[in-house]
């Protein structure tokens, strides 16, 4: 029982970060059909900028804000300088563009920052909370709470505001969106900015637990992508479910099956899920129209 709770929380914490990355993937994918492999770099920027801003003497909240701003600016630049000029290119070409962008951002980060690992202090102390005999980090609760707040906020934005609906409209039909007077370039930029912000917040929340360095983005992008696909791409709920599930899978696989093959177990499950449900868990099962 203790072990179960322990594994559950470990999985949820990791999964929450995957979920945030997957959510970023989904948002940009919905608005532009671009699978943004630079999504992990936003998480890296969130953590790294906060670390270096705090080293420069800023208090945590200000440093975090700065980090989000830097990530958002990076996201906007990515959109303006790489995605926008490549408009009309094929899906795979756009993927390669974002991979190029991710190498570029990482390359710049290793110059601007350094190549070492860094930590942030936990927001509310390191003293574990005891729950059913298991030890839960206060920072884990920050991660879970933060992720939940982001998901809720995003949901309200998309469902309840006209601007949010404009984003969904652009996702559904870009031409029609332009024709009703939506500036789709702004909407796309918005999607990149929001994705970057989500990623950065994830990075800030999780760095006290996981540490960070200029290179942490690649792996997160990979896992986030897998999570987004597991849930069914283009579906924000799917992204969150996929992320949490992937985190739990890894955690329980490590705890109960084999820590060596824990990533293998996770990907094996993804493969099996896709074989059974080719559109992911919550993806739209569109009947092909001919």
């Amino acid at each position: 029982m203790v072990e179960l709770v322990q594994l559950l929380f470990a999985g949820l914490t990791t999964g929450a970060v995957y979920a945030l990355v997957a959510l970023g993937f989904t948002l940009i994918f919905q608005a532009s059909e671009v699978v943004n492999f630079a999504q992990g770099e936003f998480v890296m920027l969130g953590g790294m900028v906060t670390v270096f801003a705090m080293k420069a003497g800023l208090p945590l909240p200000l440093a975090a804000l700065l980090a989000v701003l830097v990530a958002v600016a990076t996201g906007l630049l990515l959109h303006r300088l790489a995605i926008e000029p490549a408009k009309g290119a094929t899906v795979v070409t756009l993927i390669i563009v974002t991979i190029g962008a991710s190498i570029l951002i990482r390359g710049l980060a290793q110059i601007v920052f350094d190549k070492q690992f860094h930590a942030l202090p936990a927001f509310t102390g390191d003293e574990p909370i005891r729950l059913l005999g298991a030890a839960i980090l206060p920072q884990s609760l920050w991660v879970l709470g933060g992720a939940a707040a982001i998901v809720l906020g995003l949901w309200l934005f998309m469902e309840r505001t006209l601007l949010g609906k404009a984003v969904r409209a652009t996702a559904a039909n870009r031409l029609a969106a332009e024709l009703v007077g939506i500036d789709t370039r702004v909407v796309l930029a918005l999607a990149f900015a929001v994705s970057a912000a989500i990623g950065a917040v994830g990075g800030i929340l999780v760095t006290p637990i996981t540490l960070t360095s200029y290179a942490v983005g690649t792996l997160l992008a990979l896992k986030g992508f897998a999570a987004a696909m597991l849930g069914g791409i283009g579906n924000p709920v799917g992204a969150v479910v996929g992320g949490l599930l992937l985190g739990l899978l890894e955690s329980f696989a490590a705890g109960w099956i084999s820590s060596t093959y824990k990533d293998g177990v996770a990907f094996l499950v993804i493969l099996l899920v896709l074989f059974a449900l080719p559109q992911g868990l919550l993806g739209r099962r569109a009947v092909e129209r001919v």
């Binding site: 006209l162 609906k165 969904r168 409209a169 031409l175 029609a176 024709l179 009703v180």
Partner: protein, 239 residues
């Protein structure tokens, strides 16, 4: 008294995709309150021309003036703000969003109060939409989708409505209904530029028409005159 300035004036317009020039120097004008019809074979450049007017396709040469102002430098959403609204070919609804959301998004550039009034007006025009306001637009039947698309355009309060193939893929009874709606809109003071496959129906409705042939205007005149033109009849109307 000189004739009033045209609402839309297109001069020497050229545009196309890639290496293909689909519209090769077109002049036309539409006056306030008219129904104007653009007919011609598939691939003649009708849709391309409409896309250039609404701004989703960049032009290569020529000018477009709307209400006396040059608009060729404006982006599509800015043209919507000026009152040029296109109902695209194939409806292009926001399929996963509800009918009401589709309509409200039509008024994306307008104030909230007028949106409510407009919504009531559209629902009055198309009562079937009111009944299904919470249904995802993608689940509507073909005719209802066309109504929704026209309704969405009306939400923007257009001065010039660009209608691209509103009858495409619809059963004959529905075509009649849609065309009747177009005639009714003229009565409400909306200027309409109509592109139609169904040339006879379109021209019999239109005050003014053009026959487009491989990117150039081949015949122009009042709708009636074009319908009676033997050359047009033989080549385009199949009569």
């Amino acid at each position: 008294m000189p004739p009033p300035e045209p609402l839309l004036e297109v001069r020497g317009l050229r545009c196309g995709y890639g290496r293909i020039e689909a519209v090769k120097g077109v002049d036309l004008e539409v006056r306030e309150g008219e129904i104007a019809a653009l007919v011609g074979a598939n691939g003649a450049g009708k849709t391309t021309l409409l896309r250039a007017i609404s701004g989703v396709l960049p032009i290569r040469a020529g000018s477009i003036r709307f209400a006396g102002e040059p608009i060729e430098g404006l982006r599509p959403h800015e043209r919507v703000a000026h009152g040029i609204v296109q109902v695209p070919e194939g409806r292009q609804l926001f399929a996963p969003l509800s009918v009401e959301d589709n309509l409200r998004l039509g008024a994306f550039r307008r104030g909230r109060e007028r949106t409510e009034a407009n919504l009531a007006r559209v629902f009055a025009l198309f009562p079937q939409l009111a009944e299904r306001r919470d249904v995802p637009a993608g689940a509507l039947s073909g005719g209802q989708q066309q109504m929704c698309a026209i309704g969405r355009a009306l939400m923007a309060g257009p001065r010039l409505l660009l209608l691209d193939e509103p009858s495409m893929g619809l059963a004959p009874t529905l075509v009649e209904q849609i065309l009747a709606t177009v005639a009714r809109l003229r009565g409400e003071g909306v200027t309409v530029l109509l592109v139609e496959q169904n040339a006879v129906a379109a021209l019999s409705l239109a005050d003014r028409g053009w026959v487009l042939e491989t990117g150039r205007i081949a015949h122009a005149g009042s709708g009636r005159a074009l319908l009676d033109d033997p050359a047009v009849k033989a080549a385009y109307l199949g009569l």
